[in-house]
Amino acid sequence: MLDGALLLQTCLNAIYAASYLSLIAVGLVLIFGVMRVVNFAHGELYMVGAYALFWVFSQNELPFFLGVAVAIVGVGLIGLIMERALFRPMRDNPLGGLIMSIGVLLMLQALAVQAFGVRKKSIPGPYHGSIELFGIEGLTISAQRLVVIAFAVVLLGALWAFLKRSKLGWALRAVAQDPEAASLQGISIGKISMLAMVLGAALAGAAGALTATIVPTGPYMGHSVIIAAFIVIIVGGVGSLEGAVIASILYAFVATFVTTFADGVIADIVGLLLMFAVLIVRPHGLFGKPERA
């Protein structure tokens, strides 16, 4: 049966899914756009963010937002180390960067297992209760999910303002567009790469911390997220931040609706076929520019 309330409810779920997915995808695009590194460890950065919240909020019973802050700063720091120690020596070797990130992925997973065990943890969030929307019975959203959506909007808005308004943001976009020309203008590629990696990692950490109270937190939770994020950045066009956000919304709606009305595996297949179709029609994504050889 297809009633209006279920339809609207599914839309709400999709908006929530789109919010944290776009945080992750935008980070991934930022890293790829500037450094040309396919960061396979991005899902694990998200996982570390979730464990940071678990450690601060559940284990040490400190405020929720302190947990989110620790996740953002901590995971950003991991990003900084990855860029300096691993990705910088691989600058001329794109597959080298990929293998490096797989090494990081394996290490982070093993460390999470060592520190917190293999078992998944569910963390009860601080915002209980749910809000009924538009006075329709059954159409509700939990307060916790609203926090995630609000945070995603604020963080992405801040990032957008930073990229469009600040000088550093300009420099970052210049490097993403044409590294050679940017460095001739006196922009330090190394510094901008560091900035992109820290920002990208911090966004993944924020997404992990925010969703940790909704999805179970486990060492292998990054796996499902990274595949969705790759689909999103391909559909949006690699290197396009706006594309990543729009494709996140598109993907989240398709995946949520197909999961509701069919099943999860079919949703995965549909998502992949969607991406495949986009690649066949526009081999550089909806909003991307053709890559120069």
């Binding site: 790829f32 396919v38 396979f40 691993l86 020596p89 691989m90 070797n93 794109p94 597959l95 080298g96 990929l98 293998i99 490096m100 797989i102 090494g103 990081v104 992925l105 394996l106 290490m107 997973q109 093993a110 460390l111 297992v113 060592q114 595949i227 790759f230 689909i231 391909i234 690699v238 595996v265 079919i266 995965d268 297949i269 992949l272 076929l273 991406m275 495949f276 690649l279 066949i280 081999p283 550089h284 890559e291 050889a293």
Partner: protein, 364 residues
Amino acid sequence: MSYLIWALLILAPLLLAGLSQAGGAVAGRGPQRTMWLWIAGVVGFAALMIAPHLVTYSQQELLVFLVINILIVASYRLLTLTGEFSLAHVVIVGVGAYGSALLTKQVGVPVPIAMLLGAAIAGLVAFILSFPLFRMKGFYFLIGSFAAGEVIRLLWKRFREPFGGPKGIKLIPEFPGFELFGIPFEFYEPVTFYYFALIIVGLSLWLLWRIENSRIGLTFHAVHWQDQLADSLGVNTRRYRTLAFVIASVFAGLAGALLAHYLGTINPNRFDVDEMVYVLIWVIVGGTATLWGPIVGLIVLTVINEVILRELNVDELRPLFYGAILILAMLFLPSGLETLPRKIKERFSRDKKAADAVELTTSQ
């Protein structure tokens, strides 16, 4: 004793890798180089022949997988010759495995014929996939091939008929046993299957080597390094990319068929992205400049992961060490383990000019 065998297995391809890459300049032309090649070959062959008799039962099984994986990485290298790295290769291995298993179970085709047909099906699937995939290049090809592979894998998972769903296919018939000179050969025995796989993989390697050194193989190199120039000379680069993809997939499918009839059971998770990542790691850590590179990477990393790290009894921390080794290998040997002998040679070489000459000849 078993450690000696593992060491020899690593040493022989490394020696061959070093010699074939360094060429005449370092090892010297003529008799000296030929002598070293012979030594490497004989050491490797002897180690391969006696290996299963000196290791434990679980390590015998490991040897079988190692031999099958050699075919997987060697076929993958043929694909990388044209410059594209596919993330669908392990799924193509699975296509061979599923094809061969279904033909024997549902149609009743004899195992040896089904294995060849499974390889052919893998080639056919690759041919069909090549139409959308070779519209893309570089990063897009990487992710596009991953998507194509995932779709196939999810179809196996979703459809119980005929693929068996998440549990896959069970009770796949094994290669028929026989008796020769009163000695029974039963293929559920790891040792027997090991020698059988060794023959098939050896033949395949020889074929791959011949293909690579033929006119077609040289064109593959041209397509990789001078794609626009090759285009302008009338070489249909897309057709050659497709050809490399299909040939690599046929051998990958054969490896899958070997796997299916040895294991007796296959499921979609055996061919997932984790396995693909391992193949990619072996190939890139080994190096793709020579046929030996990926095989060296495979053997060294498998022995480190499955023999040395397992022995240390640190099961939960194994991925940590493995990840660290991976990172160190990439930092200090960015063009692969195959360059290790040359680097050692350079370090000890008093004649710096010779080393420079090698650098020149190999970078061309």
